[in-house]
């Protein structure tokens, strides 16, 4: 099982100019490793709709990689999105499911089928051709460059330790820069940043 640092730090080093969309318990930790204007926190938004939001960005930006760090509980809320992603053929989308088997930011209550659900099998069943599953940091770090290269869509499930991240406030008190503005401001800022980069 990985720590969040073991998950996020190598990813921050290899993401290049990809858009990174975070949600739930990795939102605040991601801000410790990245302050890119291409980061977007799907926080204070709609529960369970991070992967589909990221898919939309990927379809509008087909020449740019889009990395989505989805939660396991969030993924369960919209499992159909796995089929939508495959059907869309979004070759630039890399969808992570960060599996800690709990709704961490609401107090670590277990997700349905905690400890039994197999997201990699669900992804393969939905039609993903490239599916990775990691529960050891050395294996993950050794293959991360491969995960992020080539055509997708790519599905990655990473087992991480339970944490104690609390709810996200989107106020000046948040340590991460990308959480100190409203989600509307974040959305408009990211659109502008992508326009400027062409």
């Amino acid at each position: 099982m990985l720590t969040k640092e073991q998950l996020l730090k190598p990813l921050a080093g290899l993401r290049g100019d990809a858009v990174v969309v975070t949600c739930m318990s990795v939102t605040r930790p991601w801000g410790r490793y990245s302050s890119s204007e291409l980061d977007f926190a799907s926080a204070d938004s709609a529960m369970g709709h991070t992967a589909d939001l990221a898919l939309g960005i990927a379809l509008a930006q087909p020449r740019r990689k889009v990395i989505c760090l989805n939660g396991d509980g969030s993924m369960l809320m919209t499992l159909g999105t796995l089929a939508t992603i495959v059907d869309s053929g979004a070759a630039n989308l890399v969808l992570f499911v960060v599996q800690n088997d709990t709704y961490e930011i609401t107090g670590n209550l277990p997700i349905p089928a905690a400890g039994r659900i197999d997201f990699a099998t669900l992804a393969r069943g939905a039609g993903f051709d490239r599916v990775y599953s990691f529960d050891r940091a050395d294996q993950y770090e050794g293959r991360l460059a491969e995960v992020l290269s080539g055509d997708g869509p790519v599905f990655v499930v990473v087992r991480v330790e339970k944490g104690s991240e609390g709810p996200i406030s989107r106020t000046e008190g948040e340590p991460s820069r990308y959480l100190r503005e409203s989600i509307a401001d974040s959305a408009h800022r990211l659109r502008k940043a992508l326009e400027l980069r062409g």
Partner: protein, 179 residues
Amino acid sequence: MLSAQLVVQELKVCGLGCVVGLPDNSSAGLIALLRRDDTIRFVEVTREGEAFALASGFWIGGGRAAVLVQNTGLLESGDALRGTAQRMRVPLLCLITYRGYAKMPGPATPAASESSDADVFSKAAVDSAALITEPTLRAWGLPFDWLHSDADLPKISKAFARAQRESRPVALLVTGDMC
């Protein structure tokens, strides 16, 4: 009945790159045309809530999108609409096909107090989805208008212009089949 071909032309006037939705009887003809279109991509979702998040993401990515769902799917989409397009202030055209419109008893816009009557909801002759569509749009703060015939189609570009001007989703209720 509305001309699906003319609807596509209006969507092109808006400069849309993507329509996200889920087919129903009223939209099937339009979707068949969009699937063959070179400039507007149709993305099919598995549940309507996805459509609002996906279309919002498409806008963040620099595109212009519309959502095409039935009113039943709109009702399913409440939190997705609230938490993405509305919360993020996305200029989004929402085409909502109006199941049950023809069977509506009396005025098309019953007061909320009327629609809370349990007897009304259970009457076989009444489509309860239609009954609560407009009160729901009002409650959610979503501006809307109706597309009854081809004469109404210029409302599409007007609605999208308003969505852009006010940075918000705007809905059009489509009361006939698009063929």
